[in-house]
């Protein structure tokens, strides 16, 4: 298992944000983490990777910092780029957990592969801060790819992207899963989640409400309990469209 969480609980300011969460992700799985705002999705990711204190077990948090960074790449929700570095230098930051200071031949190979994959060659020398939001998001994903970790944990990677970019991003994630990587991706659009993820995990009020195939998780009664809304599902040849009502 690339990710293995058992009885994971997080208490923040005397409030239980996560309770007894168990979750495992195998190679080749694209797992969508869904749930209402405040359900604990970001907290789950932060705890899994050992960024915040928790009780319970996380296989990643148990590793030393370098081993962990080689086992899992993490894309936070905030797309922060503090300095006007070039796109190439930004992607090269993904090599920090590896020896070679970003200049060894393995480093160069990983950086070039990640940039090619995200279509960033034309922007190579451009300042990352001057790119559009979508291009910045792509550069940051390329950074995570350059890390060459078998597991990618991405917090709302498609939020704020236009429909074409959202599709491109999720297709890329599907491709990565097809190559044998594991992915945990939080996502708000239930339709996109159902179409692209091999498995969905629904989190509500800090607990896992459902875990399984998209059809199993996106049942009317489950959605009503988690989100307090009803949805209309329209099946299309390209997958289901899920309309909140």
């Amino acid at each position: 298992m690339l990710l293995e969480l058992r009885e994971l609980s997080v208490i923040r300011r005397n409030r239980e944000v996560l309770r007894d969460v168990g979750l495992s992700i195998a190679a080749g799985e694209l797992v969508g983490l869904i749930g209402p705002n405040g359900a604990g999705k970001s907290t789950l990711m932060e705890a899994a990777i050992g960024l915040i204190p928790f009780s319970g077990v996380s296989n990643l948090a148990a590793m030393d910092a370098t081993a962990r960074a080689r086992a899992a790449a993490y894309l936070p929700q905030s797309r922060e780029i503090a300095w006007p570095v070039s796109v190439e230098d930004l992607v090269a930051l993904g090599r920090i957990p590896w020896p070679g200071s970003g200049r060894s031949s393995e480093d160069r190979k990983a950086i070039e592969a990640a940039m090619t994959r995200m279509g960033l060659e034309p922007f190579r020398h451009r300042t990352a801060l001057r790119l559009s939001g979508g291009e910045q998001a792509r550069a940051l994903i390329a950074r995570a790819l350059a890390q060459e970790a078998p597991l990618l944990i991405a917090d709302e990677p498609v939020a704020g992207l236009d429909p074409a970019q959202q599709l491109a991003c999720l297709r890329l994630f599907q491709g990565l899963a097809g190559e044998g990587r594991g992915l945990l991706v939080s996502i708000h659009d239930l339709g996109l989640a159902a179409r692209f993820c091999s498995r969905l995990v629904l989190l509500a009020k800090g607990r896992i409400l459902a875990d399984g195939s998209p059809d199993h998780v996106l049942r009317d009664e489950v959605i009503r309990e988690a989100f307090g809304i009803t949805t209309r599902r329209i099946d299309t040849p390209d997958g289901p469209a899920i309309l909140p009502i």
Partner: protein, 328 residues
């Protein structure tokens, strides 16, 4: 990038040499350098080895230290307005020096003033650790630093207020303006070891500072430990700015302006900015220290005054550039 470093090294080396041959003694370049390297009879070797060499070496290390710590602080806080004085250690060093002048301790022994300043710097660093706590974030650290600076400034103002006579007050005010004049090799040996240690500590944070470009969480997920990074950085900055203030007084704007100017030239990478900024800081302070000797040789123009006079308009220019479209 390589040409930039070659140029910075060349400029710094030339300014170091120029600093050695600038002074009221009126030695020719050849005579001066011969006296420095080969020694000999008469006052020339003494002038070169006991007066000018320490001054040039201190210009190099104090300027380099201020540039390096400025770049490190800006990288750590991800803020181009950060500067080494922010953690309050230089303010406490100044208070230590001021107290030594006030009590007359500075007259009792040659090294009493810098030692007292180092003691102040050490107390400042200790206070910072106590206030910011082992787990506090960068905001807590800066707030603690600002509080310590305020305290040190209040203490300095109090000493000035209560100074027994105008001469003592005068001496304190002049010391606070910063200067590298009349320092000895003893000063150099006093501050060099902690400053080298501090520079080595800061150098170990280079990759972590790069990782911080992506924010604290992303950096932590790439293996950066926020706690050890913070203490390595704080210790490194304190080990440099404490001694720098102890021998040079308050030399402003170098740690703020130099990283700012050089950032675009190194592709904005915090790790590359560290050595560039160290060289740039050394060049700026050496140049300013030569200028104070040339502009008003008989009036004892203070180094800190000159760096502020040069630094403030440079900074205004940068703000102007930022306002008119470019990013910092």
């Amino acid at each position: 990038m390589r040409p930039l470093f070659a140029m910075l090294i060349l400029v710094t080396a030339m300014l170091f040499a120029a600093s050695l041959i600038t002074g009221p003694a009126g030695l020719s370049v050849v005579d001066g350098l011969r006296a420095l390297l080969l020694g000999g009879e008469g006052p020339m070797p003494i002038v070169m080895r006991e007066i000018r060499l320490p001054r040039a070496v201190l210009g190099l290390v104090v300027g380099g230290g201020l540039g390096l710590t400025g770049a490190a602080m800006q990288g750590y806080l991800r803020n181009p307005l950060a500067e080494p004085g922010l953690i309050g250690v230089s303010g406490m060093a100044a208070l230590g020096a001021v107290l030594a002048i006030q009590t007359g301790l500075s007259l009792s022994a040659a090294m009493a003033l810098p030692l007292s300043a180092l003691l102040g710097a050490g107390m400042g660093a200790g206070l910072l650790v106590a206030l910011a706590g082992p787990r506090g974030g960068s905001v807590t650290l800066i707030l603690a630093g600002i509080a310590i600076s305020a305290l040190a400034n209040a203490g300095t103002a109090l000493v000035l207020n209560l100074s027994p006579n105008p001469y003592a007050a005068n001496e304190i005010v002049f010391w606070l303006m910063g200067s590298l004049a009349d320092r000895s090799m003893l000063h150099v040996w006093l501050v060099l070891p902690p400053m080298v240690l501090g520079a080595m500590l800061i150098w170990t944070t280079a990759r972590d500072l790069d990782a911080l470009t992506l924010g604290e969480n992303a950096a932590a997920a790439m293996g950066v430990s926020p706690t050890t990074l913070r203490w390595r950085l704080v210790a490194g900055v304190a080990l440099i700015v404490g001694p720098a203030t102890a021998v040079g007084g308050v030399i402003g704007f170098v740690g703020l302006v130099v990283p700012h100017i050089l950032r675009p030239w190194v592709g904005a990478r915090p790790s590359a900015l560290l050595p560039a900024s160290a060289l740039g800081g050394a060049a700026l302070v050496l140049a300013a220290d030569i200028a104070v000797r040339l502009i008003l040789p008989e009036r004892d123009l203070k180094l800190g005054v000159l760096t502020a006079i040069v630094g403030a308009p440079l900074f205004l220019h940068l703000i102007w550039k930022t306002r008119s479209g470019g990013r910092m």
